[in-house]
Structure formats: structure tokens, C-alpha cells
Symmetry: C2
């Protein structure tokens, strides 16, 4: 990249070391999730904390800080790209300049170790085993929020780390708007004559070998345009995507022996994240413009591929013969309509990542309320299992029997991520609004019918991916759709789609 300002050039050169340390830490994190032997948790935590230590040193390096401040004070003369770089650096610097190094390193070490504790606690369904780590993580998040500063709610400081300028007030508005619409739609679907909440195909009687599921996931990822020469598909306790370098964007999925859908939707979801990262203009490599701009926008890409494509009735028609070829005995008799309904089975359920599109955001609303209350000390960590049960009952009308399918289900808190979940809801809204814009240019139905997903990816590449972190979420949404974010597009999308499927 050519810089108009030699000081900025020098700053970005120094930033490259931060980037390299970040990548190395990402490798350690990926390996922790995918490979780490049980006894090595503490050592991995030490290694990761040490890298964090080195990274913080580079942020706090007086020469770096001085360069940074000089540039921030004179940013009006910079080009558009350069201004965006400085804005992104300022956003990251909030964290490193305001939080004492000791806390940052402790946070990294704690969460690195907590992952293995959570993993085991979930396997053994023992919330009590995870509680001490969780308490520590909440405490550290409160300390971090205090150092970052906030107007009225410490949780806002955390939200802003994942989605610039997102606030708890905005979250409340969104969920207050969504909830009645979603609940009404759910009731309508459940009352329809076509509604079947169960299916023998996934009741646990039939088995879908994991190796076949892997083949299917690989096939669909290739169709989507995911580049395996700069990525991989692996297995982890919770599916995720991570950037180990610009040409090493890895996704994971999981395989459930009795439900072939989960691996496929997870692979498409993570594949969506992967495509975004793989599509950023390489001119931005090693600069603060590389990588997706925010978690909300990232989630719009993953949810788009998972839902707007993966659960699209026309795409499922395209996929049916393939599914039947992989599982002739299990699905040989299942028609397209059965497959469509199976992937769009609307039913309040316990596991967020397996939730249908209608109820999904209710899972997020639940987590948002709990996190907000935890950070504000309105509830206690030890009461989480019962609160989780209560709220699941309240939001979804059902109750988890175990903590494994309740409070222990998600990996995020073990990662230390408080304020992350609401970006999932945002992602759904962005995705619906982007899809509306896409449909002005493309005949999505026809492309799905033919499995021509490459055309869809090209549109995303051009409109969204290549920009990396050049535009902030609000700018990007306006640039792509001509409007600000509106939750109504999402509601309309659901009403139309499920209206057709269930003949409402």
C-alpha cells in the first residue's frame, strides 16, 4: 500500500508486529479449540498470555504511541483509506491504552484456561466446575468496562468492543421491536395445518455417519467458493472461524450422528465468515483495514449463507438429490417438501445454534438480559442455571433439563466474550437488509435452484467483502442498501418465507 504520510507508513510498519503476534495467538487459539491435549491447558494459557504481553508492549511502546498521537491530531490531511485505518486503530487502542497491561494479560491467561474447564464441565454437565472461572471472567469484564469508561451502563463499554457504538439501549429497542413480531409469527406457524413439530428423520432412530456429513460439508463449502488452498474444515466443541493469516482462514463444524442438518448449517455459517475474510482486498494486508469490520457485519455474512441460502427452499430442492445419494436408506423416501420443512422446522428449542430463524433471536434476547444483569450485578453467577431455566421458559415456553443444554451450551463466556451475543441479532437484521439489496441485482431463486452460488459470492465480494474494515457498519449498510439498519426487513423476510412454507 502507498501512504500519503511517512509517519503513518512507519506506524503501520510497527503495527505489522502487532498483527503477527495476533496471528500467532490465533494459531494457539485455533489449536486450543481443535487439538489441545487435556493436560496442556495451563501451558497453553501461559504461552498465550506471554504473546498477549508482547502484544500489549507494542501498543504501549512510547515510539508507537507518539507516532499514533501525532497522526490522530492531524488526520484531516489523510486519504479516505488512511482515515479509516486511523479510526480502526483508535477503536483498538481504546482497549490497550485504557486497560492496565496486567489485566489484559490476566484476562488472556484466564480465558485460555477456562476454555478447557468449560469443555469438560459441559461434557460432564457440571456447572459448578465452571463457576469459579466464570466468576473471574465476569469480574475481569467489569474491571475492563470500568477502565474503558461508559455513560450509564458498564455493559455498553463491552458491547462497543464487538460492535462500534452499539449500546444496551439500542439492544433493548431492537429486542422490544422483534419479540412481539416473532412470537406472533411463531404462534401462527404452530397453528397452521401443515405444522409438524417432529420428524422421524431426526428423532434419534436414524444414524448419519460423520464421514458422510464431512463430505457433504466439503461439497457445499466448495460450491460456496470457500478456498481450501487458504483454509481448512475441522471439528471443534463449538463451531468457529478464525484468521491465522490472510491466506489461512479456518472454519470448524461439528457432527451429530442423529441429525445431518447441524453439520451442514454450521459449515455454511462458518463458511460465510470464512468467505468474508478470504474476500478482503489483499492491498489491505497487514493494515488495520484487513479483516471484517465488526462482529455484526461478520454475522450477517454467516447467517446469510446459513439461512438465506442454506435454509432457502429452492436451494434445498437443489440439495435434495445429493442428500438422498449420501443417505439412500435414511432419506431415500423423503421428498423435497420434507427436506424443506426439516431444515425450516420452527419450534422453540433449547440449543441456540440449532434454533430456527424465527426463535433464534429470542435466544439472543435471553443472553443479552443475563449478561447485562451480570455485569450490572443485578444477578449472581451462581444463580445462572436456575435463571437460565426460568428465562428459557419465559422466552421459549420450554425448560432445559440439564445445564449442558442450558447455561453451559455456549463457548463464548469461556472465551471471556461478554457483549458478543447481541451482534448475532444484529447480524440477522443486516443479513435481511443486504439480501433485499442483493435481490435488486440478482435472481436469487434461480441461482439457488441451479446451485450457482458463485454469482452470489461475486456480489458479496464486490459490495461487502473486498472493503474489509474500510467502512464502519453504519456506513457499509448505507452504502450497500441506501438506508440505515431497519429491523423490519428481517421481520418481513421471515413473514414472507414462512408464509409460503406453511401456507399462512
Amino acid at each position: 500500500m502507498i501512504f500519503s504520510n511517512p509517519k503513518l507508513k512507519k506506524l503501520i510498519e510497527k503495527y505489522r508486529q502487532i498483527k503477527l503476534l495476533g496471528e500467532t495467538r490465533a494459531i494457539l487459539g485455533w489449536d486450543l479449540n481443535v487439538n489441545l491435549p487435556e493436560k496442556a491447558a495451563q501451558e497453553r494459557a501461559d504461552q498465550s498470555a506471554f504473546l498477549t504481553d508482547l502484544m500489549v508492549d507494542r501498543w504501549l511502546d512510547p515510539e508507537f504511541k507518539k507516532l499514533f498521537e501525532t497522526i490522530v491530531s492531524k488526520k484531516e490531511n489523510l486519504t479516505k483509506e488512511e482515515k479509516a485505518m486511523v479510526r480502526n486503530l483508535e477503536q483498538s487502542a481504546k482497549f490497550y491504552f485504557n486497560i492496565p497491561k496486567k489485566i489484559i494479560v490476566e484476562f488472556d491467561e484466564t480465558t485460555s484456561k477456562a476454555f478447557m474447564v468449560w469443555k469438560k464441565a459441559k461434557q460432564e454437565n457440571k456447572f459448578a466446575d465452571f463457576l469459579p472461572d466464570l466468576k473471574k471472567i465476569i469480574k475481569l469484564n467489569q474491571i475492563i468496562a470500568a477502565h474503558l469508561g461508559f455513560k450509564t451502563n458498564p455493559y455498553d463499554a463491552l458491547l462497543d468492543l464487538y460492535e462500534p457504538e452499539l449500546t444496551s439501549k439500542k439492544c433493548v429497542q431492537i429486542f422490544d421491536h422483534l419479540q412481539p413480531a416473532l412470537t406472533a409469527l411463531l404462534a401462527k406457524i404452530q397453528k397452521s395445518k401443515d405444522y409438524r413439530p417432529e420428524s422421524d428423520l431426526i428423532s434419534g432412530v436414524l444414524s448419519y455417519p460423520k464421514s458422510d456429513q464431512r463430505q457433504l460439508s466439503l461439497f457445499v463449502l466448495k460450491k460456496m467458493g470457500y478456498d481450501f488452498a487458504s483454509g481448512r474444515l475441522d471439528v471443534s466443541p463449538h463451531p468457529f472461524t478464525t484468521e491465522l493469516s490472510r491466506n489461512d482462514i479456518r472454519v470448524t463444524t461439528w457432527y451429530h450422528e442423529n441429525d445431518f442438518r447441524d453439520s451442514l448449517t454450521a459449515a455454511m455459517h462458518e463458511g460465510g465468515h470464512g468467505l468474508y475474510e478470504q474476500g478482503v482486498d489483499t492491498i489491505y494486508n497487514s493494515t488495520p483495514l484487513s479483516g471484517g469490520v465488526s462482529l455484526g457485519i461478520h454475522e450477517s455474512q454467516s447467517r446469510f449463507w446459513e439461512n438465506q441460502i442454506g435454509r432457502n427452499p429452492v436451494f434445498l430442492k437443489f440439495l435434495t438429490p445429493l442428500l438422498q445419494a449420501f443417505y439412500p436408506e435414511q432419506l431415500g423416501q423423503a421428498g423435497e417438501e420434507t427436506i424443506i420443512k426439516l431444515f425450516n422446522l420452527v419450534k422453540p428449542s433449547l440449543i441456540r445454534v440449532e434454533a430456527d430463524e424465527v426463535t433464534y433471536n429470542l435466544h439472543i434476547a435471553l443472553r443479552f438480559q443475563l449478561e447485562n444483569d451480570l455485569i450490572n450485578e443485578k444477578i449472581k453467577p451462581k444463580d445462572l442455571p436456575s435463571l437460565w431455566r426460568e428465562k428459557t421458559k419465559q422466552f421459549l415456553g420450554i425448560e432445559p433439563k440439564t445445564d449442558r443444554e442450558g447455561v453451559l451450551q455456549d463457548v463464548h463466556w469461556s472465551y471471556g466474550d461478554f457483549g458478543y451475543f447481541p451482534t448475532y441479532a444484529l447480524g440477522n437484521l443486516y443479513a435481511a437488509q443486504f439480501t433485499r439489496a442483493m435481490e435488486k441485482d440478482l435472481d436469487l431463486k434461480q441461482l439457488c435452484a441451479k446451485g450457482e452460488l458463485g454469482t452470489i459470492l461475486s456480489w458479496q465480494r464486490e459490495k461487502i467483502h473486498r472493503h474489509g474494515s474500510l467502512y464502519w457498519p453504519d456506513q457499509l449498510v448505507k452504502k450497500v442498501t441506501g438506508e440505515e439498519l431497519k429491523a423490519d426487513y428481517f421481520i418481513e423476510y421471515l413473514q414472507k418465507k414462512y408464509g409460503e412454507i406453511y401456507d399462512l
Copy 2:
């Protein structure tokens, strides 16, 4: 660990950072071999070189160097363990204090990238594609040797990096002693009436599914006592073992569809390395005493498990029913004697790692001569394919048809390792001498017959593993066997074993 000297304590604390960076670099290296997507080679090289840069900085840190020099100058007052630490630090410091940082980082970057080039060149059988990297690696090794210093032969400086005090003169002596004995034994075996150089079981007609091979490898590794809670078994283009931390010692193997032996012997070989690392006294963690003492001793542990156990006729009798259960159609009719002969099939062959015990060291002699001549510029890198063919003919009486099974077969040169191969021959000699000592305490035959490998491991733990790098190779051999290293034990071991198998 409690230190008698506070300065040494401080030095070892600082050394811990070097260790952490080394572990992190090992994670990157493991991932490079096992997982790295094709396009990410340059980026991984950058990441690894950056870590090397940070590591060299710590070696060259004036405070570290000053502490180090103070301690070296007054080491007579230290305890035995502390003296050993200082000796090991001095050995490592030779490299970091004498070679310019620029060269060390360039070496790391070059070799990180070269691995992917070699991998592809081997797959495609294109030596020319690997040649530029190989030339650069040889050049860098010559530069390194010059900086390290040597009496008469620059190759000696490199040998010493892998096995303290090993020289090309000593190598020549060993190979001159071994070669006639091995050639004579080979001729005797080939003339025996029982000699069958071929077997239908591995001629390419029968297929042994990789998943079964994996199960078998896992079974044997568990029997050996390899701890999967602090390790893993994966696949890589060339089997290897690496320490990612004290509780994360990973091994790899490979699976050849038409020969079930290769994965098993490779897994046992790497498992032997793994057991050594997993058995070091934890009191030595994060000190220069952790880890195996030298490549030669390391190789004695791997070759012991591969050969003295894995190819032991009595152990193979124990294993036969299991092999038949895994491969009922392929091996159902094969008796114990067939399996024993199959694993001990003596026959000049092209691939070193698949070579029998009798011809194995001839492969090493070949590599030793080529490396010695390359470093001394008596031959040119571009002539390696033809020289390899000539020497294979000369040493083994056969000729490789492709470079894939000739000069491109081994990963080592892509790693930058010149001077490494001779330690394999040393390992064979150490292994035979250790086995002789072991047999004074244990009834090896009976233990193998019952598959009671745990008792064998306990002996190794007590006599060898727990000491880590406390004793140098010559000290350790004397301590364990009461004698200096003698090649005759190895020759006698082969003569006895193959005398029995082939009724010579």
C-alpha cells in the same frame, strides 16, 4: 526448582521466555507440517521468522548475556544440576552468540517456506522446483558453520549442533566399521534358504484401510504407555515428534494403503521419541534440563521401540492375532512366522524410513557423504539427483527410478537440518547398547510375549528419560551401560537376531 545461586535463578527465569517462544514456534512448526493450507506458506514463514527474531533478542539481551557470563565464569560452586544447566546453555549459546541475528532469522524464514516447496516438489517429483531453496539452505548452513568455527571441516560445526562433540572423523570411523559387517550379514541373509524378498501381502494387491491402521497405531501407542492426555497422533508428509510444551508432546505417522507395517513402525518410532519427552522429570520444566539430551540419544529411544520391540519376533507373535482381527481377509491365513518375516524383511530398498535394520545405516552413510561433500563444496546441489542414484547403486545395489524415492524422499533438508542424519546411526548403536543393559535387569522376551510394555517403559524412565538433559550422551551411556559407546553391540544384536530368524 531451588537454586543455590540467585543469579542463576534469575537467568533461568529469563530463559523461560526463550522457552515459551520456542514452544510457540514449535506449535507453528507442527501446524505447518500437519495442517497448513497451501497458500499460507509465506505468511507462516513470516510468523515463524518473527518469533525467531524475538527469541534471538532474548539471547542477545545485554542483561541476559551479562548474567550468563558471570555464571559461566564461576560455575565451580554450582550443584550438579546447575552445572549441567550452564553446560547446556553454553551449547545453545554457541549458536545465538556467534551467528548474526540476520542469518538466524533468514534461516528460519527460508526453511519454514522451503517445507511447503519440498512437499509439493516431492508430490510432483520435481527436484528442480526444490533446488533454489535447497541451494539457499546449503549456503546458509555454510555461513552458520563459518560463524560457529571449526578445526578442519565446516561440517563438524553442524554435527555438533545435533550431537555435542560429534565429528565427521568419528562418523567415518563408525561407518567404516559398520559397512563391511552389514554388507556381510546382508549377503548371508540373502543366501539363506528361508530368504524371500517379496510378499504378496504387501505387493500392492491387498489394501489395508487407513482408519484401521490408525486404530492399530493408537492401540500400540497406548500399550507403550504414551499418554494421550498430553499428546496426540496425527498425519504428516513425514512422521515426526515435537514438544509443544511439557504436557503436549505430539507424534505423527503416515498411512500407506498397501502396506500396513509402515504406519505401525512409524508410530512406534515416534512414540519412542514421545515417551522420552513425556518422561522427563517435571522438576526440570522450563529449565535447560527439560527435554531429551541429544538427537542421538533421542533416536536410540525411537529406534528401540521401532526395532528392538516393534520388530521383535516375540512381540510380533503377540501382535499377530490383533493384526488378523483387524485384517481378517488380508492376514487371516498368515501365520506368526509370516508376520515376523514380513516385519523383518531384509532387502536393499529405496526409502530410508522403510528400510530394514540391516541396510538402514547404509542409507545414513550415503546421506553423510553427500552432506559432507555439499558443505565442503566437493559436489554441487544440482548434481544431487544423479549422485543420489549413483550412491544408492554403490551402497545398496539398486537405483531409484524417481527423485521422489531418491533425493526428495526426506524432509530434513527442507527443515535446514544438515548434520542431523548421522545421529540416526548413532541412535541405532546407543539403542543396541542400552538394550544389552536392559536385558541384565529384565526378561525382555517374556515381557514382549505378554505385551507387558509398561515394565520396559519403567526401566527407561528410571535409567534414561527422567534425567532429561542432565547427562550428556557420553555420560549417560556410561551411567546406564558402564561403558563407552561401542558399535559392536549393534553388530552382535543384528547377527543374533537375524541368525535366529533366517537360521544362519
